[in-house]
Amino acid sequence: MELKMRTTGPLAIGEMSGRFDTLENAKVSAWLDSLLANNPSGILLNMSNVTFVDSSALSLLVKYMKTCRQNNGDLIICGLQSHVRVIFDLTRLDKVFRIFSTEEEALHALPS
């Protein structure tokens, strides 16, 4: 999968694309670590080009969400494709993460 990073103000914006599964965990984990190193409190993950997530991918996102919240920040998700969104809904992780339809919507809702 491809991982890109941008920064807007205090928030790191990460763009992910492709399949997000066990095989990609180590790579994504290292990437999120580097995002956190520069922006310890906030990550906005744009997942609009992610085509698949499995349960180990979800546990990785939960792990980093917990880390962010411990630092009074958050890991926020936007742009989920409908079949990926279903996986968040089924596991009720939609009640745990702040999920926005688009990046603009997320940035608008967040305090700058």
Binding site: T22, S55, S56, S59, L90, T91, R92, L93, V96
Partner: protein, 510 residues
């Protein structure tokens, strides 16, 4: 007291070896009327003929030279020009003879030392081939190369793993220094030549050092460091050295491969034990419960995984059951599964009259820290069937698929109302309630079924699952379980099972 004899001067060796030739020349001078003949060096007289000759009488002399050796040829008791001419001719002859002798000695020594090196090389390769541990290979390499190159110090250094360093005969360079030179060599991939005499307490230009890379699968993984007296390593030594290090690299690669195979075999054996243990952790018998027909099965994937289920059936009490799936695979998932299931077992026993949310909440409270530490979570469905009321209470922490098919009706999914165990510090699920009559079917499966793939990469999915359960709903719980496995296996069509497939089926009966 025994006097220690000084080693014979090379010139004396020469005079002994060419006694006949030298005698012919000296005898001829004595016959011509000379009082004596002598050969001397800066250290004194190497030979005098006759031995009784007085060395203070007048004589003539000429220089002799062969390689680094300077000497003088003397004749006593003569002084004319003819004698001088002849003496000069004799000196040229003897010098030439001496030069030939030295060349021969040098060549012999070179032959001996190259034979020594061949022997050392043979013993090095023999010694290394017999070693099956990395420590022994590195130790042998340091030890044998010291003999091979006539060194004052040699060391091998392999920084990966715990880091291994061997010195011979005594430590001279420390591991910080070695790490530094290793990094330099690893970056360049080239041998490093250095002159470290002053650094380690030797006078300048008395000591030369060399760090040779040991390459394993195209990467510098270790180095051999050598120190010897002298100004430089000669070209044949360098060639030999790179040969030695090539061989060492191959041997280290073999040892690593062997160790990897061994570790893999050990791991496989341990995993097999873990898998067996995990299967034993699941209930051995299906419970007999008034009002419902119960069936369950779990088919682990190749690796140990995190699926589990549990039944708590006590006479006269509602029947409690649970199904869960710890994320991920392998040992961490298996360990968390074992812990979670043990806790579940004790909570269903101790929390008398408890509801599904009580159990789910208690497990979440106790396991949240562990799940957070390891970075995992576990979906969990807990159900409670009340025979007297004909109702089913349930709490669902992020678990799917849970399929409910009322008798004679359409099957649908029961969605979770809270996230999995270990995600939030507090359980936010609520107890849900539905009537459960004879003919109603509840299937609590794990995602190993809907995520099973066929060789084309297509997933079995929820739609097929719902259709299958609807079609099998009139069968017994056990037949529904069997149909489910058969359908998914037929769909997978030989494609490897990626994830555990676990299912509990509860069917209302009269």
């Amino acid at each position: 007291m025994i006097a220690t004899a000084a080693p014979p001067h090379p010139l004396q060796n020469f005079l002994r070896a060419h006694h006949n030739h030298v005698s012919a020349i000296t005898n001829s001078w004595l016959e011509m009327g000379a009082a004596g003949v002598g050969i001397c060096t800066g250290d004194g007289w190497a030979g005098v003929w006759p031995e009784t000759c007085r060395l203070d009488m007048p004589g003539i002399h000429v220089p002799m030279k062969a390689g680094q050796m300077n000497a003088e040829l003397w004749v006593f008791g003569v002084s004319d020009a003819v004698a001088m001419t002849r003496l000069e001719a004799d000196a040229v002859l003897l010098s030439r003879l001496m030069a030939l002798e030295y060349e021969l000695v040098d060549m012999t020594q070179e032959l001996i030392s190259s034979q020594d090196q061949l022997l050392a090389l043979f013993s090095l390769s023999n010694a290394m081939q017999n070693q099956l541990s990395l420590r022994e290979v590195l130790n042998t390499l340091a030890h044998e190369s010291s003999k091979l190159f006539n060194l004052i110090y040699s060391a091998t250094f392999l920084p990966s793993g715990n880091g291994e360093m061997f010195h011979y005969p005594q430590p001279v360079l420390d591991d910080h220094y070695m790490l530094r030179v290793f990094q330099t060599v690893a970056r360049s991939g080239q041998r490093l030549v250095f002159s470290e005499g002053p650094v380690i307490g030797f006078p300048p230009d008395t000591l030369c050092g060399l760090v040779e890379p040991i390459v394993i699968q195209g990467e510098v993984k270790a180095v051999l460091c050598l120190l010897k007296q002298g100004v430089r390593f000669e070209s044949p030594e360098l060639k030999l050295l790179s040969g030695v290090c090539d061989q060492a690299g191959t041997q280290i690669k073999n040892v690593l491969l062997y160790q990897e195979t061994l570790a893999q075999a050990r791991l496989n054996a341990e995993m097999e034990v873990a898998k067996q243990l995990q299967i034993r952790l699941l209930p051995h018998h299906l419970p007999e419960v008034n009002g419902v027909d119960v069936a369950a099965a779990s088919l682990p994937a190749l690796q140990v995984g995190g699926d589990f289920y549990h039944f708590a059936a006590q006479p006269g009490e509602p029947f409690m059951f649970a199904v869960g799936d710890v994320t991920g695979k392998g040992m961490p998932a298996a360990l968390l599964m074992a812990m979670t299931r043990t806790l579940l077992k004790s909570k269903t026993r101790t929390l008398q009259q408890s509801s599904p949310v009580d159990v789910l909440g208690a497990v979440n409270d106790e396991m949240y820290e562990d799940y957070t530490e390891i970075g995992m979570f576990s979906t969990m469905f807990v159900g409670l069937y009340d025979y007297w009321e004909k109702v089913l209470y349930f709490a669902n922490g992020g678990h799917s698929p849970v399929i409910y098919c009322p008798a004679g009706s359409t099957a649908f999914m029961l969605e979770a109302d809270g996230p999995p165990v270990g995600v939030l510090p507090e359980c936010i699920c609520e107890n849900q309630l539905m009537e459960f009559h004879p003919g109603d079917v509840l299937v609590v499966a794990t995602d190993g079924f809907n995520e099973a793939r066929n060789p084309q990469g297509e997933m079995f999915g929820y739609e097929r699952l719902l259709a299958l359960i609807e079609a099998s709903a009139s069968e017994s719980a056990q037949t529904i379980v069997n149909n489910l496995y058969q359908a998914v296996a037929a769909f997978s069509n030989g494609n490897a099972q990626d994830d555990d497939q676990t299912v509990v089926v509860i069917k209302g009966v009269r």
